[in-house]
Point group: C2
Chain length 378, copies 2
């Protein structure tokens, strides 16, 4: 065989390895796998709740960051979306014309706002006077803005009793006709610290009460304002959204071990897993090593009941999908490319070198962000 | 102004924002910034140590994953490199012809090995019999292999006393003339748990002793074998490498807060920082919010003396570089795009909305992996 023939053969083999022939891509390295049917079920459930409550469903696309997956929302009537950066808004602006950037506006990126608002309906977020001062005179086209309220997450947003700050922003924005006040927005991220459905519902109720009070306070002056709420735990677990005009959950499309931990989903609702090759097996300490590390799964972890860190749950392959995760088996540590799995001693025989196993991630948004160039749909 | 003129103007502004005109790129979003002079100093120091010990310097390129940065090693005589995956080897094979993949061979990627070995000198890593069984008859071209030894890190590798496992691998590989035994390789990753220079040196000594004993044991049969060691803490802190044939540190080019924590570098040796815009300021709780989250810095963290998690140290901008990090000021939490900084109350006045500040990452390899599409060199 000549050198060129050999070279061609090898490149062709490599091409086949990475090509989805007949819809079945051979997985040979860490690959995020998405169960589309589960995603559609998760979307349908949230869309129905929004519809039943007469609430606008504006899903957060930071979870998947994919134009292709974004299209899965169309059949459920979704026409407006949420993102977490102006670059993400630019990416999605190809297919979506109504976008809210649910992140305190970065005043250094005003040129991107001007670019987006040429063709798109864009809403940005103010939570301080200074940002408005910096950007207001640089805006060329109309842009909507929300005022972010901190209902208890203590990340960003104005505390609800700080009317002076809210009024300062509103007064300053009046001087630019391109700025339209759309209402109040919050992300009740403290729901992630809840331990029960009742706690999650309590976060929801208190958060919505705060937002509703603000809306009522300002409705006499701004008659079109709305309130927008966001996190997956409250949007999944709470039932009453009649006071809520808009909901922006994101993670629910995939779910993950964190959501399972706070019981906002079942294992069966988790729609993504990272498929990883088994590369080593250490019987003496009941451990398996996978090709799958911090650059694939992220260092997000949970502390288990026994105090040990878990960087993911472990499932086996079954009929081209993944099984329910194994008990007493978890990712105990991650380095850049290695993952070490602590295996239930009785289950060591289920793991063989050269197998593909599936890791259910602790945080699917971050895992998807890491695997943006290498995912496949079941 | 017509619509088209406006559109052109905006696209041109955006082009300018992202273009490195006159070598000064305006930073408007999280951007990993690399101080090339510090990198060269860090490389020079390690290259000198290798040279003084008559040890081959085969740096690990997983830290930067960049062909451009890889070229910075050439003036120091580097001609052979280490990577952590076959895909990374394929990427670097454009410029580098002698590559070791320091990761237990993934038997599912044998086609990539065949592709690489058409044109490159490639070394792979065996740490179990099963992987050899799966791939040995599929190899088309010559490939070198190391046997990985676990000198105490308990991640991957064969325990040094398991001669039966080593012999089984060596016997099996004899049947394929394409396989050449190169020696023993270890990554003494337990050095990262050390609390002092002496502890790091002790890890180095015990690790090298184990490796040297193995080499002596097999030298009578395999007269060209070498021992290869790898982690940055021992390569930085230990002095005696005369028994070591090859060293493969990676992180040392950048260093990070983790290396500083175990005192293998000073703050001044840290050659990367993530530049982040300040988007909010909460005086009431002495916090600043940055555009810079888990997708930019990773969730790697350290536990501080007071028990609080730190996801990075905080420096200010000064003459186009960053200052020594501020005391009592650190990244206390990260979500996908938000970072919350706990600020020394006396220093809140140093932070203003719209500023760019610099976060020194806990783990530079992982931060660089996240920022591969958005970094700049000072």
């Amino acid at each position: 065989m000549t050198y060129l023939t050999k070279a061609f053969k090898q490149y062709f083999i490599l091409y086949l390895c990475h090509t989805d022939i007949y819809g079945i891509m051979q997985i040979d390295r860490p690959t995020l796998v998405i169960d589309k049917q589960k995603c559609l079920r998760n979307i349908e459930r949230m869309a129905r709740k929004a519809s039943q409550n007469n609430t606008l469903f504006r899903p957060h696309f930071k979870t998947h960051q994919s134009l292709e997956i974004g299209e899965w929302f169309r059949p459920f009537g979704v026409t407006s979306i949420t993102v977490s950066s102006l670059d993400m808004a630019l990416y999605f602006s190809k297919n979506w014309s109504d976008i809210t950037v649910a992140f305190p506006v970065n005043s250094l990126e005003v040129d991107k706002i001007n670019l987006l608002t040429q063709t798109n309906r864009l809403n940005i977020l103010f939570e301080n006077f200074e940002s408005v001062q910096i950007i207001k005179d640089k805006l060329i086209y109309p842009v909507g803005f929300f005022i972010e309220i901190d209902t208890g997450a203590c990340r960003s947003g104005i505390a609800p009793n700080q009317y002076d700050k809210i009024d300062a922003i509103l007064n300053l924005t009046k001087s630019n006709a391109n700025l339209t006040f759309k209402g109040f927005l919050t992300h009740a991220g403290h729901s992630y610290a809840c331990k029960s459905h009742d706690e999650i519902k309590a976060v929801h109720t208190s958060s919505v009460d705060i937002m509703d009070e603000l809306k009522v306070e300002y409705l006499s002056v701004y008659d079109d304002i709305i309130i927008s709420v966001g996190d997956t735990p409250t949007c999944t677990r709470a039932e009453d959204f009649f006071a809520v005009d808009e909901m922006r959950p994101g993670n629910f499309i995939f779910n993950d071990i964190m959501q399972k931990e706070i019981s906002t989903c079942t294992f069966d609702d988790i729609a993504v897993a990272v498929a990883c090759p088994v590369v080593a097996k250490h019987e003496d300490r009941n451990e398996v090593v996978i090709f799958g590390g911090g650059v694939h799964l992220s260092k997000d972890h949970l502390i288990q009941a026994d105090g040990a860190k878990s960087f993911g749950k472990v499932s086996l392959a079954e009929n081209g999908k993944w099984t329910c995760p194994l008990v007493n088996t978890y990712v105990k540590s991650l380095s850049q490319e290695h993952g070490v799995i602590s295996v239930d001693p009785a289950k060591m025989n289920l793991f063989n070198i050269g197998d593909i196993i599936y890791i259910l991630p602790i945080h699917s948004c971050i895992a998807m962000n890491l695997m943006r160039t290498n995912w496949k749909v079941l």
